[in-house]
């Protein structure tokens, strides 16, 4: 029975499909620099969805307020840049601090009540933060948004809308996404990660094993907030604008849709769902800019009726 170890470690190995997935992304960006902007948007949405997967997929905590951290992360990077700190890596790292702090402070709101309670409380926090950003227009530029510039990455690779900028931006986002997915992967396979699964699947039994669900939830919510903050900072830096709509309800709702489309709980679902959602939106809205939502809606309805699970299993890399 030496294979118990192999069984426990079966999710740690990098599968061929997984490696191919990342290589395909790199190749895609290099081969199609013209669509790098779109890929960048999809990668960042994927990272944003990954942040939601940590709480929704791994831990079973629903949220309609991830946009709170997305927005705060974006404004952190923007405000830093306008204060003279233009380094993009610094901005991304700095976004972790306030988002993790807000996540930590608001996490206790998630510990009681039903799923509906959690959806509404997280949404309320996001909308209040958005309103706060609107009021503090001296800092945030209010409804006008904040435009800013960032320095080239490592002093060499310009990020932005011109020349190599979109491609570099997409590669930068890809690198950050990879780094954080790597972290999430380690986390999910660690004792802490398994304990989150335990909290999700049976909180009563988890407690009987000595696991205090409340603190685990606070911890993962804090981490998830930081992930979302990094995603927000990346979006702000690669588009060099932060605006109030980052806080809005539809951001939180869309990221949840993306995650559900791709399948929650195995980390890649968000990235795949975001890719599908954004590519389909791009293709359909180029055809019919007024009515594309109809076709997305039809896709969602069909997805549910024909079995989301079955479809997700087709593209699922390794479980």
């Amino acid at each position: 029975m030496t294979d118990v170890l192999a069984h426990l470690r079966r999710r740690e190995r990098w599968g061929v499909a997984e490696i191919a997935f990342w290589l395909a992304l790199v190749a895609g960006i290099v081969a199609f620099p013209a669509r790098a902007g779109l890929v960048n948007e999809a990668l960042i949405a994927g990272l944003f969805a990954l942040s939601l997967d940590l709480i929704l997929g791994l831990t079973g905590i629903v949220s309609l307020g991830q946009a709170a951290f997305f927005g705060v992360g974006a404004y952190t990077a923007a405000i830093l840049a306008n204060a003279g700190y233009h380094d993009p890596l610094l901005g991304v790292l700095a976004a972790i601090v306030p988002t993790a702090l807000i996540g930590f402070l608001t996490a206790p709101l998630l510990l009681r009540g039903s799923d509906l309670t959690r959806l509404m409380v997280t949404m309320g926090v996001a909308l209040m933060l958005g309103e706060l950003a609107n009021r503090e227009d001296g800092l945030t530029g209010g409804a006008d948004g904040l435009n800013f510039t960032v320095a080239p990455l490592f002093g060499r690779f310009a990020i932005g809308s011109f020349g190599e900028g979109p491609r570099n931006a997409a590669l930068f986002s890809l690198a950050v996404l990879f780094a954080l997915l790597f972290v999430a992967r380690r986390l999910a396979r660690s004792p802490f990660g398994i304990s989150l699964t335990a909290v999700r699947e049976n909180r009563l039994r988890a407690g009987a094993l000595g696991i205090s669900a409340a603190w685990r939830i606070v911890a993962i919510y804090t981490i998830s907030a930081a992930f979302a903050g990094v995603a927000g900072a990346l979006l702000a830096e690669t588009t060099q604008i932060a605006s109030l709509d980052l806080f809005e309800f539809h951001r939180s709702a869309n990221v949840m849709l993306m995650l559900i489309i791709g399948g929650a709980g195995y980390l890649y679902g968000g990235v795949i769902g975001a890719g599908v959602f954004i590519l389909v939106r791009d293709v359909v809205s180029a055809e019919t800019p007024e009515y594309w939502e109809f076709w997305i809606g039809l896709m969602l309805v069909a997805l549910v009726l024909f079995g989301r699970e079955r479809l997700a299993n087709l593209v699922r890399l390794r479980r």
């Binding site: 809308s161 604008i241 605006s243 800019p289």
Partner: protein, 384 residues
Amino acid sequence: MKAAILISALALGVVPAMAEDVTVGMILPMTGPSASTGKQEKAGAELYIAQHGDKVAGKTIKLLVKDDTGAADVTKRLAQEAIANDHAAALMGFGLTPLAFAVAPIATEAKVPEIVTAAATAVITEKSPFIVRTSFTLPQASAPMAQWAAKNGIKKVVTIVTDYGPGLDAEKWFGETFKHEGGEIIEAIRTPLKNPDFAPFLQRVKDDKPDAVFVFVPSGFGAMVMKQFIEQGLAKAGVKLIGTGDVTDDDQLNGMGEAALGVVTAHHYSASHDSPENKAFVTAFEKANGFRPNFMGVAAYDGMALLYHALEATKGATDGAGLIEAMKGAKWMSPRGPVEIDPDTRDIVQNMYVRKVEKKDGQLYNMEFETIPMVKDPFKATKK
């Protein structure tokens, strides 16, 4: 399988442009809360092309309409892609102020004209030397409203504006002008952007007992304000409702019913404007789309007119600097009346009309009764 989707989708985005094509990237909110702006703008631009042909100075105009859903980061990406992939010679549209701001650095860097046909915060044209505007600025509409009010026996006013950029512009310019003319602002109320109930604000107005209440709300909230204005008994209490033309948006005015009658606003365009150009425009617009043009529709129509004008002047050359030069000082007869691009500010100079909502042929219209000729944006005028 995923890779195949990815590649085919990526490939779709790249459309080779012909040398004799002039692509116009029109970026608008076609879905979401500002979708009505997008619909009007698209219709206005398409009507101009339909009426004047897609050939100008030997080039073929290709209009590329993109939906940015009102999100600034998407606007920016679409602008970048329009320039890099579709080789757009001009960008047009921009439904909200932050969206217009977002594209400014791209316009500057790529040297591509950004023709703003919607967003109305005064400062927009200063964000890039490549921005021109064919819509209007809120100071342009608010200041004349204040002058008219002061001259017509209104002494005390409460202002209600929506709490975001354009609203603050309107509040500031109405207030300062009105005070300059000797009036008094009793209170300046700001309402949240998502606000389904004005009753408490209007109750506050009622308790302030002003002569008039000046209102700026984004188009779409106008009907709500006017109905609740009546319902709260303000009209009976002798308070007048005045505002910018956003409140009595032509697009929606007809459905507003009796509540809108008698509301006085200042704006640059009314579908009832009495000129042959406008009659032809409105008829053609209604025929093509089944709804009435509003100030957004006419701004996009004029945006296209300005581009045609510039291309004729450059004899079809599409370099951005040349186009912008040709646009400066351009003068033409718009459906709204005579207009001109101020060569210093690249903002539009146009007549402002004071109008009152009346019934004409069974329909509601903003009937113009006073004209303030060729108003420049007062915001930029004061800066000199």
